[in-house]
């Protein structure tokens, strides 16, 4: 395989000349590999972005918990103090603090507007808990809170975190499946184009065989041509895809997931693998098609 790939890129100008330049199969191969490379860039970006997102969500939510204290008037502050005392003696708790009125107002602002009168509403007090190391035992903490502060409810984010991480994982998997499907579609389209070219050049094959050409020589001429076309098309598609990703709106607080659909750091180098991989797919697909066609031709 290594030798064949070397001879592929080393080229054989005379051998390449024996296959006539064909119109539609050339354009089809370049266009198909270009379009597929363009899509592959987005699938790769999607896969990497969802991977990042899953990591962020997992990390951010796994290290924090919230305790909500709802109690009748006059008992709230007392129960908050009780909760804080419990937390101070709970292993695995690094820090705990009561959210200020301003912070709670900011949290509710998207739903109730900026002029929310917190004093007149029975809004529960929120305590943000930061975990240390492997975290605390949520069931043990719940039982202690139930004894010391009956109005306190622990939310360790597990019920939020797990489906989010799972969804992000699925999206990442879908990105990978998309890349595999793109590779298979590229292979199928190039195989069809190669078969069409071989069928159109039946007379050329007949003449080449008549003058003593080996099947590997004939197949090589076709394989080289289709591989180079796929490489050129995929390179163009990759560049266009990268430019499109580059010009996506930059990330901001309100953008969320969509504005994170880019490449970060060394991930910008990953799309450079797409053209050689497309060429490899074209090489294998055309070689298979050529060998099969030549075997069928007597």
């Amino acid at each position: 395989m290594k030798t064949r790939l070397f001879s592929l890129f080393a080229g054989d100008a005379q051998a390449d000349r024996v296959v006539p330049p064909t119109g539609f199969t050339a354009r089809l191969t370049v266009f198909a590999s270009g379009a597929m490379a363009f899509l592959a860039v987005f699938a790769l970006a999607l896969s990497l972005a969802t991977g990042r997102l899953a990591q962020q969500w997992g990390d951010a939510l796994a290290q924090s918990a919230t305790i909500r204290v709802s109690a009748p008037d006059g008992q709230v502050d007392q129960q908050v103090l009780a909760v804080m005392e419990v937390l101070q003696t709970t292993p695995g708790v690094a820090d705990a603090r009561v959210l200020t009125d301003d912070e709670q107002r900011a949290l509710l602002e998207p739903w109730f507007g900026p002029d929310l009168p917190l004093d007149t509403l029975p809004v529960p007090r929120l305590i943000e808990v930061t975990e240390a190391g492997d975290g605390f035992d949520p069931e043990g903490l719940r039982q202690r809170l139930a004894g010391e502060a009956p109005g306190a409810i622990l939310d360790d984010h597990a019920r939020w975190r797990e489906p989010l991480v799972r969804a992000a994982g699925r999206l990442r998997l879908l990105g990978g499946v998309s890349i595999a499907l793109i590779a298979m579609t590229t292979a199928a389209m190039i195989t069809l184009a190669a078969q069409a070219a071989l069928a159109a050049n039946n007379q050329v094959i007949h003449v080449l065989r008549l003058v003593g050409a080996r099947d590997s020589y004939i197949a090589g001429a076709f394989v080289r041509r289709f591989t180079l076309r796929a490489l050129i098309g995929a390179a163009a598609g990759m560049v266009i895809g990268l430019v499109a990703i580059l010009f996506l709106p930059s990330a901001d607080v309100g953008g969320g997931f969509l504005t994170g659909l880019g490449f970060r750091g060394w991930h910008w180098l990953l799309p450079l693998l797409i053209p050689p991989l497309a060429a490899l797919v074209a090489f294998v697909a055309t070689r298979h098609a050529a060998n099969r066609t030549l075997q069928e031709l007597t």
């Binding site: 005379q14 024996v18 003593g212 080996r214």
Partner: protein, 243 residues
């Protein structure tokens, strides 16, 4: 062996070995309608000159194709340069074809290449680097010096036949197989082609020409010692001197 009145003995009882192309009881058929060629035995000795005759559809082209490994016998044994065709790999057949120059009636070229590139094609596919100008003598020999850069569709029938002959001999093969080489050309051109083939035979090449042109055979026999084979009733027979 079977005798056919007027056409002498069959060719089956030739001594085995020493032939560049040998058939032993070879049969070939394209479908279930029975063999087109049946129990054909043949030996083309080095430097020999043979004509192959027979009516249209008798199997002349099929026999030529069997001679260069394009077809494999359905029965019997065909050997090319002492190698059994049935045992040869595709690569070995390709290698063997470099020792056999073939000229067909419907000459086929690569239409996108110039005449000189087409003539050099056997050298190209065998990986021999040859300057196209080195072929000037060969192209001059077939009288196509003025058409070196022409594309095949621009050539006349006779020019195509001569170009095909040049392509067939460019590798200096041991055997020349010509299937109706004069079928599409006038008498003068057929004489010219025949002269070239006779020259090749005098250079030691084995020549087999399939033709139904008896005048061509008579003209050749005046210049070269040629044997005439005839396909009749699916069998190959050695014709007599009564042409």
């Amino acid at each position: 062996m079977q005798q056919t009145p007027g056409w002498g003995k069959t060719v089956a009882n030739e001594k085995r070995g020493n032939g560049v192309i040998e058939f032993e009881e070879v049969s070939y058929g394209y479908s279930d309608n029975g063999p087109l060629l049946s129990n054909v035995s043949l030996k083309l000795a080095p430097g020999s000159f043979h004509f192959l005759t027979g009516p249209s559809g008798a199997g002349k082209t099929t026999l030529i194709k069997l001679c260069y490994g394009a077809l494999v016998p359905t029965q019997g044994r065909a050997t090319l340069f002492d190698q059994d065709v049935r045992q040869m790999s595709r690569d070995e057949i390709a290698e063997t074809r470099r020792k056999i120059g073939v000229v067909h009636q419907d000459v086929q070229f690569l239409d996108h290449l110039s005449l000189v590139e087409n003539i050099a094609l056997p050298l190209t596919v065998s990986g021999r680097n040859t300057e196209l100008t080195d072929l000037a003598d060969l192209i001059g020999w077939v009288g196509l010096t003025g058409q070196m850069e022409a594309l095949p569709p621009e050539l006349s029938g006779g020019e195509r036949q001569r170009a095909a002959l040049a392509r067939a001999v460019v590798m200096s093969p041991d055997v020349i197989l010509a299937d109706e080489p004069t079928g599409n050309v006038d008498w003068e051109m057929s004489q010219r082609l025949l002269k070239l083939l006779i020259e090749l035979n005098r250079m030691g090449k084995t020549v087999l020409i399939a033709t139904h042109d008896m005048n061509l055979i008579r003209a050749a026999k005046a210049q070269v010692q040629a044997r005439v084979l005839r396909i009749s009733d699916h069998r190959l027979q050695l014709a007599g001197a009564d042409l």
